[in-house]
């Protein structure tokens, strides 16, 4: 399956000792160490011909069991690179910083040797991607590819694996699974193929599912049904899910917690309902205001627009990365980048809340 055999750039350095020592990474209020997955000080950069591009800059967050955590951001925010880094799917010239830690079941995934990490990928931590047709090998049937995951990770014999593949196709809501299991990828529509990819990802009942914009390439009616499927599966199996998207509106009624990223940094993180109704960070508020909401027509008024554009990761302004575009920027914003402030059940990187 595509993407699960990446080239890491760290050599095995043994296992980290538990979650102790991770500061500020967990959800405020939850006992440390109870998180399903913890990302601490993750930094990823790309050494390009002309300069070093810092895609992710010291990002920390944690994922609880049975939680849907959404990472929202525009292009250049570093959201995709973040979850690719979790499974160490970053190839040179990309490199994950030495201080970064991804803790899962007591071990730092970034420090494991490739062989051990491969046993985790697909089995305990699984991933689905944006373009389903690019994730399947066009030369093999869908059933065979799902079965392959089962044979590799659970050593199932071929017949049993195919039978289980058919069950999985049914579970993800594909009609006539007995026929679809023998189909080739090109015979399935975009929505079906995405469901098949989800089937592949949950085949071994992973504890964590990473989803990189899985619905962006789909039509709205299909999109909403895939979201429903994901939500249902996450609830049923108590799986934790990290869902990357650029569309905040999509997350209404779907995500439990939202993390907003900008220019490789976390700008705000809070429970979903809260962020969508009363965002703390000006960027989040601007973003929500800039999108036409259902029921808003042009005679109601002009769309709020954010001036300027997303900064080039190689050319960030001094101080807060958002200040050139922020309508509420004031003195400290120009000089110094704000730290993450804690506000009740949320965190904001903004001087307004310092």
């Amino acid at each position: 399956m595509k993407g699960l055999r990446g080239a890491g750039s760290l050599n095995g350095r043994g296992e980290a000792g538990g979650a102790a020592g991770v500061d500020g990474a967990g959800v405020v209020g939850a006992p440390p160490g109870s998180a399903l997955l913890e990302v601490a000080d993750l930094s990823t950069w790309f050494d390009l011909v002309s300069h070093r591009l810092r895609a992710v800059e010291k990002v920390s967050f944690s994922l609880q069991r049975n939680e849907i955590l959404a990472i929202a951001g525009e292009s250049g925010s570093g959201k995709s690179v973040t979850i690719l880094s979790i499974l160490r799917l970053i190839r040179p010239p990309g490199k994950i910083g030495g201080d970064s830690r991804v803790l899962f079941q007591g071990r730092n995934l970034l420090a494991l040797d490739e062989k051990t990490l491969n046993r985790i990928r697909g089995r305990h931590v699984s991933m689905i991607f944006q373009e389903p047709s690019a994730s399947f090998n066009p030369l093999f049937t869908v059933g065979a590819q799902i079965a392959e995951v089962l044979r590799v990770h659970q050593n199932l014999p071929k017949k049993a694996a195919l039978a289980r593949a058919e069950e999985l196709l049914d579970r993800v809501g594909i009609p006539n699974p007995d026929r679809r299991v023998r189909d080739f990828p090109f015979q399935l529509s975009g929505g079906m193929l995405q469901r098949a990819m989800i089937a592949t990802a949950i085949a071994c009942s992973p504890e964590v599912l990473l989803a990189d914009e899985p619905t962006t390439a789909l039509d709205p009616t299909t999109q909403i049904r895939i979201l429903e499927l994901l939500k249902e599966m996450s609830a049923r199996s108590r799986m934790g899910m990290i869902f990357v998207t650029h569309d905040l509106e999509l997350l209404r009624g779907f995500a439990d917690r939202i993390l907003v990223m900008y220019a490789g940094r976390v700008f705000e993180t809070a429970p979903a309902g809260r962020i969508l109704e009363a965002p703390l960070h000006p960027y989040t508020a601007d973003l929500l205001a800039a999108v036409p909401r259902p029921g808003v027509f042009k005679d109601t008024g002009r769309l709020h627009s954010i001036r300027g554009r997303v900064p080039d990761p190689g050319a960030l302004p001094a101080g807060c990365a958002y200040h050139p575009r922020c309508s509420r920027a004031f003195e400290p914003c120009f000089r110094e980048e704000p730290p993450l402030f804690e506000k009740h059940d949320a965190r904001v990187r903004c001087w307004l809340h310092g």
Binding site: E74, S75, P175, S189, G190, G191, D219, P220, T221, T222, Q223, I224, R225, L227, E228, K231, H246, D247, L248, E249, L250, R252, G253, F254, D286, L287, A290, V291, P292, R293, P294, G295, V296, F297, K298, R302, L303, H304, S305, I306, R307, R309, V310, R325
Partner: protein
Amino acid sequence: MDKTARSGTGSPFIRVRGLTKRYPLKTGLFSTSREVVHAVSDLSLEIPRSMTLGLVGESGCGKTTTGRLLLRVIEPDAGEFSFGEVSDVFALDREGLSHLRKKMQYIFQDPYGSLNPKMQVRDIVTEPLRYGGGLSSRDLDRRAGELLERVGLSPGDSRKYPHEFSGGQRQRLSIARAISSAPSFIVCDEPVSSLDVSIQSQILNLLLDIQRDLGISYLFIAHNLAVVFYLSDLVSVMYAGRIVESGPSRAIYDQALHPYTRLLLEAMPGRGAPGAARTADTGEVPSLIHLPRGCAFYPRCPLRGEICREGVPPLEEKRPGRRAACFMTG
């Protein structure tokens, strides 16, 4: 160049009737297969002057094909397209069409593929003025600067190349090119779908400003309903190559007549959350090759009845100004 309506006061500026396009399906070098993809079937729409018709539908419904047919990028198999004083754009010969080109323009979805990477932007944006216009190169330069400024870019950038601009800026360049010949009709094919959210609103505002200042009619093609409803005065919904509902956007939003429209509205992020009570939907994508005898929406329709299988429901006026192609709603 305002012209009075040619025949009667009720005649809309743009009127399309019976637009049809079929693609033959070739299965091999010597195929005798007669299978055909019915991309667009018997499509009709109207756009008044200086207003926007939003064309929505999911992928494969034929909306992009419709846009390209109107501008004769692809030639239709049947249909009439009256445009202002021109009684049928589809009947024009090569020469007649080239005169008309200046009046109808197109904005593409992909900001990266729609600009010639090896050409300076001043040449790109003035391209529609270049042929048969008789403008000197200094005139063209001046016009290029004016156009750049109009779309919110700096005139000093006119000698730059497309790759020096961001996605949103490139879309502005596309818009500049589209308005350079003072057209009265622009087909906007998903102009903001490839852009970041924070940029989309900038471009949408720009499109609205330009429409107001220059009196241009838009055919706005998109699959993001919220954007379409925001921008459009009128909306037409497409399914399997046909229009299934059309009317003023607000009216449709408040109460959709066709069951497919209702499905789309419920799927709008923010309007219908996942898990909220919604109509059941199999999500089956209609085949454009083997069109059923009756309504193409039948397999997914909650209202379906026997009559729906017997013939394609015609697009007819159910209320003043509201049309729907459905036997079961009134």
